[in-house]
């Protein structure tokens, strides 16, 4: 890995800005996400900032099963984000559709619509689980760069 690449990867890992999008959740996961950003958990320690616009964000955190109504909007928001971008499915519904899978108005999990990098199960997923999931996503980023270098 060249030095520039190393620095850029380091910067990406140290500064994940997230965008929160409710794709049809019951609000439980949303509240847990907000709780993770409060002073008690203080995600700014790891450089996480909640951004309002997809243009600024690196990680799209989706909560809830994808409803038929939100599907187009989810895709559009995903496309509005600049590369490199990652998607985190927060909560059981977002991972697989949960109990809503197969419902007349629901399209199953997030990964049926856009590619997902990390799944965080839980109903609702607790702030600790969210921090763990994002940390694992970022470490995988580093490992991916290293495997690319060794040619595997």
């Amino acid at each position: 890995m060249s030095l520039t690449k190393k620095i850029v990867t380091w910067a990406r890992i140290k500064s994940p800005w997230i965008l929160h999008f409710n794709t049809g959740a019951c609000n439980a996961c949303d509240i847990e996400l907000i709780a993770a950003l409060t002073p008690r958990y203080d995600l700014e320690r790891f450089g996480v900032i909640l951004k309002g616009t997809p243009r600024h964000a690196d990680i799209l955190v989706c909560s809830g099963p994808v409803t038929k109504q939100i599907e187009d909007r989810l895709r559009r928001i995903y496309e509005q984000m600049p590369e490199p971008k990652f998607v985190v499915a927060l909560g059981t519904c977002a991972c697989s559709g949960g109990v809503f899978d197969g419902c007349y108005n629901v399209d199953s999990g997030i990964d049926k619509v856009i590619p997902v990098s990390a799944y965080i199960p839980g109903c609702p997923a607790s702030p600790k689980a969210l921090i763990d999931g994002v940390a694992k996503l970022l470490t995988s980023l580093e490992e991916k760069e290293e495997t690319k270098k060794s040619g595997r």
Partner: protein
């Protein structure tokens, strides 16, 4: 020629301002976090954000005017950096100096706001336009007290040049004490210029997403954020010079340390103010500036005129 390039690109120009601006952002965010009883970001946070944004994709919206959209951030950053060349940091000499450079510095500090407006307006997104118009609206409110506060100090020294102001205040050591009202006014107005919390109406996240910056991504967003950081450093050094002009004949190293101390003090005040107050509405903000700050600034000017008529006669 080589010397000029060194001054412009390294010290006290581009490179120094990038480093000090990002450090200032870190200090601001750390104080903000500690006052909220949080741990706060690590020391490299602002650098990591900046490098990450530089390496991201640049998106120019199809609806926008690509030329204006791309030019605005660079223009804003250039103006903010140029303003720094006119400010004497320690000692009496700035890199560039002529009679009237106070006006030039204030004018160059206004340009970034206009560039934000142009960038936001030509993004052609609803939120960007709302934010852009708000930032211009706000400009008309805080700009007048800021100018009056700083020019009142210049009035006492009877000059429009920063260099001669320094000479005057070195000759009359305790006269800066009379300008403390002006300092308070300018500090509050500076918050408006930096779009910090009581006056962060243009980029109020809960109302207009990210204001004029909404459509910016990648490198251009990095420049815009850097502009605000550089403006913070330039604004605090200007305030430090105009309102605390003591200890300017100490020589390079103690002078630099004293300068650092003054700037850190002003940065701390800015962070404290943005922690303890909440955001105002745009009409409340305009009312506040015109009803309270401007009359106070007029009082300051009156005081300085009386001083000139009596003590300095």
């Amino acid at each position: 020629m080589l010397g000029a390039l060194f001054y412009i690109l390294i010290f006290p120009g581009f490179l120094f301002l990038v480093f000090s601006g990002l450090t200032a952002e870190f200090i601001d965010r750390k104080i903000y976090a500690r006052l909220q009883n949080r741990v706060g970001p690590p020391w490299f946070q602002a650098y990591a954000d900046f490098i990450k944004l530089l390496a991201k994709e640049d998106i120019v919206p199809a609806e926008s005017n690509p030329k204006m959209f791309r030019v605005a951030p660079v223009f804003a950053l250039t103006a903010a950096i140029t303003a720094f060349l006119y400010i004497p940091l320690w000692g009496k000499e700035a890199l560039l100096s002529f009679n009237g450079d106070v006006i030039i510095v204030l004018y160059l500090l206004t340009l970034p706001t206009l560039a934000f407006f142009i960038g936001g307006w030509y993004s052609t997104s609803l939120y960007s336009r709302l934010g852009a118009v708000r930032s211009l609206m706000q400009l008309f409110a805080y700009e007048v007290p800021l100018f009056m506060g700083i020019l009142a100090s210049a009035l006492l020294a009877d000059t429009w040049s920063l260099k001669e102001m320094v000479i005057f205040y070195t000759a009359h050591p305790w006269f800066w004490m009379f300008n403390l009202t002006g300092f308070a006014i300018s500090l509050v107005s500076l918050l408006g210029k930096l779009e910090k919390v009581p006056f962060d109406i243009p980029e109020a996240e809960t109302e207009v997403v990210a204001g004029g910056f909404t459509e910016y991504s990648g490198r251009m967003l990095a420049y815009l954020r850097l502009t605000l950081d550089v403006e913070m450093v330039v604004g605090s050094s200007l305030l430090a010079l105009v309102f605390f002009p003591f200890g300017l004949n100490l020589g390079p190293l103690p002078g630099f340390l004293l300068f650092l101390f003054k700037v850190l003090f002003i940065l701390g005040l800015i962070s404290l103010l943005r922690t303890v107050v909440a955001r105002l509405r745009i009409d409340q903000m305009v009312n506040f500036c015109w009803k309270y700050l401007v009359p106070l600034a007029l009082l300051q000017i009156l005081l300085n005129l009386i001083l000139k008529g009596t003590l300095l006669r």
